[in-house]
Structure formats: structure tokens, C-alpha cells
Symmetry: C2
Subunit: 214 residues, 2 copies
Amino acid sequence: MEADPSMVADQSLRRFLDELASSAPTPGGGGAAAVMGAMGAALVSMVCRLTIGKKDYEAVEAPVRRMLDQAEAVRQRLTDMIAADVQAFDALMGAYKLPRSSDAEKQARTEAIQHALKQATDVPLDCASACAEVIELARQVAPIGNRGVISDAGVAALSAHAALRSAALAVYINVPSIKDADFVQSRRARLDSLLARCAADNEQAYETVVGRLG
Amino acid sequence: MEADPSMVADQSLRRFLDELASSAPTPGGGGAAAVMGAMGAALVSMVCRLTIGKKDYEAVEAPVRRMLDQAEAVRQRLTDMIAADVQAFDALMGAYKLPRSSDAEKQARTEAIQHALKQATDVPLDCASACAEVIELARQVAPIGNRGVISDAGVAALSAHAALRSAALAVYINVPSIKDADFVQSRRARLDSLLARCAADNEQAYETVVGRLG
């Protein structure tokens, strides 16, 4: 029995892991990426919340409050993407199953597949973009957040960076089948730019955290 | 109100994320690491399950069956660690709150803290070790698993590697406060060896996957 995709985030963690491990095609790597990204955003929020209102951190309270707002907004987007990934995959599978007995049917099916492939590319690309925001927030909070919980800023960056690279794999799967060369080129360019920027930002966040733990 | 730590994995994903983002100290980065590791193991299992029994993959069925058994065993261990991390943290906080009005109390408190710090180091180290197994399984399945879902082997490696580095941060937090030099040295050595080996294995799994997507 198929679960309602919009309810994926309302399953227990244990059941989500069971479904990830099952032979059902969804949830898969795309859903796992959205969860990792959302965990990263959640950990940025946690660091911000444990910095705001603390006497030793009054000087950074204003920027940290802004970071918290941004982290909570991006966490909401990433949580919604857990379901969006399942929906995009289901739509693609549905398009492949369309009838192809006549030329008209064949053409309609091809168009539906191309449309669904673009959707199945843009969902992980949105995920990658949201993860880049999380990494940037982790990098910003790492040097100024409450030192007592600063390792969580490092985990936030690591988790969001793994999510970004995972989302990239989902883009790579789909682009070879997409015939619209402009679409492919623009999406690849956006992805490459995100990957290049975030690899450095992630390491910077991690090193900052390690330096403050010592 | 505190939730029963052993029930963390039975919460909905949405609630887990809310608690991660909250100002409550647990679940935190350690729990997020265990979840990432368990997601990695689950994705290895999924790739194995979608390889076993497929006509084009008969030649690799025997090793892939063994990988599935190993992935499911390590997934169970990592799922249990989500709660173990919360328990270790709570035990440490409990030790810090012990009374210290007399010398006897002070000494008992110091011993309890040292014991709890060792526990709070060994839990993430076990997590790191389990994640190393997941990365090794992802590396093994990447060149032979069903190409149609092979990106999930890449996500498995990325997720388990982020989890391993996250668990390392949890070890780094605790060791500066531990007075038993032999304990610290042995744990640091084990962690450094895991980190060195797995960085290369993760990139190898990822590159193998990208090569098979092209």
C-alpha cells in the first residue's frame, strides 16, 4: 500500500528508515537528502536558540536572531521537499507508464516524460540551493555562536553539505535523458556553482568549529 | 516534559526535526549523526534489495546478499544509537548536577563525571565505527549494484561520511575534559584511523557512482 507522499514527514523515524531500506523506489536518496538538509537547518536553529539571551553572547544577539529566522524558513522548505521528491519520482514513473499504441500517444508520452524529468531535476536542485543556505548559515554562526554547543554548527554544515552532494547525484541521473539543451546547461551551471562554493564553506565551518573545541 | 530517550526513533520525522531545532540540548548533533548513519545503511540495503533477483545482476547476487545482511545489522545498531546518544548526554548532565558540599561528595561527583564523559565519548565513537562499515558497504556495492538505483549508493556513502565526521566532533568535545590519558590516546588513535580511511573510501564510492550515471 502506498502512503500519501505528503505524509512522509509524519511517519516515525523508524518507519522512514524501514521504507528507505525497502525495495520500494521511494523514499530514496532524494528524500534522504532533504532530511539531511532539514537536520542541518534544525541544528543551526538550535545553536542560535542557545546563543540568544545568554549574557556572554549579547554582542552577537542581533545577527544570530536573523540567522535563526533564516534557518527556520529554510528548514520548513527542506521538510516540504521530503514529500516533493516522492511526488516528482511518482510523476516520472507515471509518465513512463502512459500508453504508446498510436503516434499521438507516443508523442504525448514523450512530452509527459520530458516534463516529469524536468520536475525531477528541479526538485533536487531546489534542495541543493536550500542546503547551500544552510551551509552559509552554519559558516556564519560557527565563529560567534555559543561555544558550549558549537559542535552542532559543524554537524549542521556536514549534514547540509552531504545533502547538497546527494541532491547533485539526483540531478546527474536525470539530465542525460533531458532533450532541452538550454535547460540542461542552465541547471548544470547552477549546480556546479553551488558545489564549488559550498565545498569551501563547509570546510571553513568545520575548521572553525574544531578550532573552538580545542 | 522530557520524552523517554528510547522512544526517539518512534517520534515522527517532523517532531524529531522540531526537537533538534529546539533549545533542548537533546537530541543534538550526536543524534543527527546516528540518523544520518542509519539512512546511509538503509540506502545500501535498498540498492542491494533492488539488485538481488534481477536477471542482469545474477553474477553478483551472492556478495550483494551478504552486503544486505551486513547493512541491515549496522542499520539496527545505528538506529539504537539515536537513543544511546540522548542517554549518554543525560547521564553526563546528571553527573554535573550531583551535590558537592563535602569532600566525599566532590570526589564522587568527579568520578561520576569522568565515567559519564567516557560513555559520552564511546557512544559517538561506536557511531563512527558503524558509519565506517556503511561507507565500506557503499564502496563495495557502488561498482556492482543495480545501475538504475546506483545514485543511492552514493547518497549512502555521503550520508555515512557526514555522520562519521559529526561523531568525531562529539568525541573532540569530550576528550579535553577526560583525565585518563591512556583512554584519550586510544580513542583519538581509533578515530583518526577511521577518519583517514573513510575520507578516501567515500570519494571512491562517489566517483564510482558518478561514473556509472554518465
